[in-house]
């Protein structure tokens, strides 16, 4: 049940025993990072609540995705293209990353999406003494 205080731990315990049961080893630095080596090939999985990121040997990834779909009710999102504000384009062994949508959302949040870009985001002739005349803002939103 969502929003029950125990739900996240129950879910973690379930997935953790699944991966450990398959022979994955868990990172000591991050309990949501798993890896397995099969016939010299590596597969890495990162768990982020209900999102799974897989990388490594392509055949291992595909067979692991099949196994996961049998164990849990899952949706295969294919190649990773958007995660936690990070946009990723993957092609021909290369990778391009950007945070365009994330930046747009921040601009919209602060009503600055119509603003023109400038090299130095300060008014002309501004002195730091001028800042003391400004209104107090709520610093916690930043």
């Amino acid at each position: 049940m969502y929003w029950l205080k125990q739900a996240p731990r129950a879910w973690y315990t379930r997935t953790d025993s699944y991966f450990i049961g398959l022979g994955f080893s868990k990172s000591e630095a991050d309990p949501n990072l798993y890896q397995i080596v099969v016939e010299g090939k590596l597969l890495i999985i990162v768990l982020y609540v209900d999102d799974l990121i897989l990388t490594g040997d392509e055949l291992l990834i595909l067979s692991c995705k099949d196994d996961l779909a049998k164990e849990f009710e899952m949706k295969d999102l294919g190649l990773l293209h958007y995660f936690l504000g990070l946009e990723i384009w993957q092609c021909n062994g290369g990778l391009f990353v950007s945070q365009g949508k994330y930046a747009q959302e921040i601009l919209e949040k602060f009503n600055m999406h119509g603003c023109k870009p400038v090299d130095t985001p300060l008014p002309k002739g501004w002195r730091k003494e001028d800042a003391t005349l400004g209104e107090e803002v709520d610093a916690t939103i930043y």
Binding site: L4, R9, T55, F72, K75
Partner: protein, 119 residues
């Protein structure tokens, strides 16, 4: 709540709960604390801002649960951000592809140690 889009989303959520045997109906017991519940509606968006999915979740009002009485410990199963940043870096170096999957009903999976009463 007559919009068929949301009715469909609620039916999908209800079916998931039943399929995962997340609950059974019991008579109200004296002296047991009962957690309230409500529906949450959310429009999920793609990276380009288009509508990906209409999601209805039936959730427990967990804020009324008391640590030590209704549950033992809270926990968030999130990876560290540097684990996530490491993935594209390593993949670019090794020429790997990165795949993504999501679990439709993560928190309906898993067994809770304590008995919980929902209304």
């Amino acid at each position: 709540m007559e919009d068929p889009t949301w009715v469909d989303a609620m039916v999908e959520e209800y079916d998931s709960i039943v399929r995962n045997s997340a609950w059974e109906i019991v008579p109200r017991l004296e002296g047991k604390s009962v957690v309230g519940s409500r529906w949450i509606y959310k429009v999920k968006q793609e990276a380009d801002g288009s509508v990906e999915k209409y999601r209805a979740r039936f959730v427990a009002q967990g804020f009324s649960q008391i640590e030590g009485i209704d549950y033992e410990e809270t926990f968030a199963p999130v990876a560290r951000y540097y684990s996530i940043r490491m993935i594209p870096a390593l993949s670019a170096q090794m020429g790997w592809y990165i795949h993504q999957m999501d679990v439709k009903t993560a928190f309906l999976n898993g067994v809770i140690e304590e008995e919980v009463y929902i209304e």
